[in-house]
């Protein structure tokens, strides 16, 4: 069996990143958008780890660790904002959220 090469990881990360981007563009529930953003974070993480493995040093791991931390913080705050939005109105379509417009 041949081994998976670097560019396979790069291509897979690209596909996952754009799938997350499509989710952000297409879906209109804030929860779905947050999850799609999570997928995009993770695609970037996969790239960091793949290149760390290729070069044989751990700096990519440190960066991926930071990314996971920031993503966890982002989810906590994002979900708090979604909870606040749901308290105000019945549904939370992102098209309805335009309080900052005026």
């Amino acid at each position: 069996m041949p081994e998976a090469s670097m560019s396979m990881y790069v291509a897979l990360a690209a596909v996952l990143f754009t799938l997350g981007g499509i989710g952000v563009l297409v879906r209109r529930s804030p929860l779905a958008i947050l999850m799609s953003v999570e997928i995009m974070w993770n695609a970037a993480n996969l790239l960091f780890l793949a290149f760390a493995r290729q070069h044989g040093n751990l700096d990519g791991h440190i960066m991926a660790f930071l990314v996971i931390t920031v993503a966890a913080a982002e989810v906590a705050i994002g979900l708090a904002i979604i909870v606040l939005l749901f308290r105000k109105k019945d549904h939370a379509d992102v098209d309805d959220i335009a309080e900052l417009k005026n």
Binding site: M1, E3, N42, A73
Partner: protein, 170 residues
């Protein structure tokens, strides 16, 4: 490092991502996100990133997704869908898929073309490289600033959430 492992885990990741985009119920979306994360953890293991794979499962597959589930259970436990007039903005949906598909084709093509000039992976000792011990040594000595930054970011998140949601008297 086996190509079969890569293909199975990659299909898991892509199927999970597609599930997030296509599923109607929020709970199904959470489940497919977890599916995606499990596939990614397998890929991390195949890159000999043991610690990151474990972290991926515990923090993402566990903590973050349970947080999502709590919010869904608290807020959307009813029949009507969250998205108002779902399916009315078909033009935008098609445009989103078209733009996303174009970018995806472009990026994936770059990855595939790059295969010609691929450099081989570095030779590492799989018994020690990327383990908790190795990672911890790297994080707590060379990259101590990143570690402290992590603590700061988590502190900001905690304070922010408490200020945002915990203000009401009820």
């Amino acid at each position: 490092m086996n190509i079969l492992l890569f293909i199975v885990a990659g299909i898991m990741c892509i199927a999970g991502a597609l599930g997030v985009i296509l599923a109607k119920m929020p709970v199904h979306q959470v489940l497919s996100t977890v599916f995606n994360f499990i596939g990614l953890a397998v890929l991390f293991l195949s890159l000999s990133a043991e610690f990151m794979a474990v972290i991926q499962m515990i923090i993402y597959g566990g903590a973050v997704m349970v947080l999502f589930l709590f919010v869904i259970a608290l807020l959307t436990a009813r029949k009507d869908p969250m998205e108002r007039d779902h399916g009315k903005l078909t033009g935008q949906t098609v445009a989103g898929w078209a733009i996303g598909g174009g970018v995806m084709a472009m990026l994936a093509l770059v990855g595939i073309i790059g295969q010609a000039t691929d450099k081989p992976m570095a030779q590492v000792d799989f018994n020690t490289w990327g383990t908790v011990e190795h990672f911890g040594m790297e994080l707590l000595t060379t990259n101590i600033l990143a570690f402290e930054l992590t603590a700061f970011v988590l502190m900001v998140a905690v304070i922010g959430v408490v200020i945002l949601v915990g203000r009401q008297k009820a």
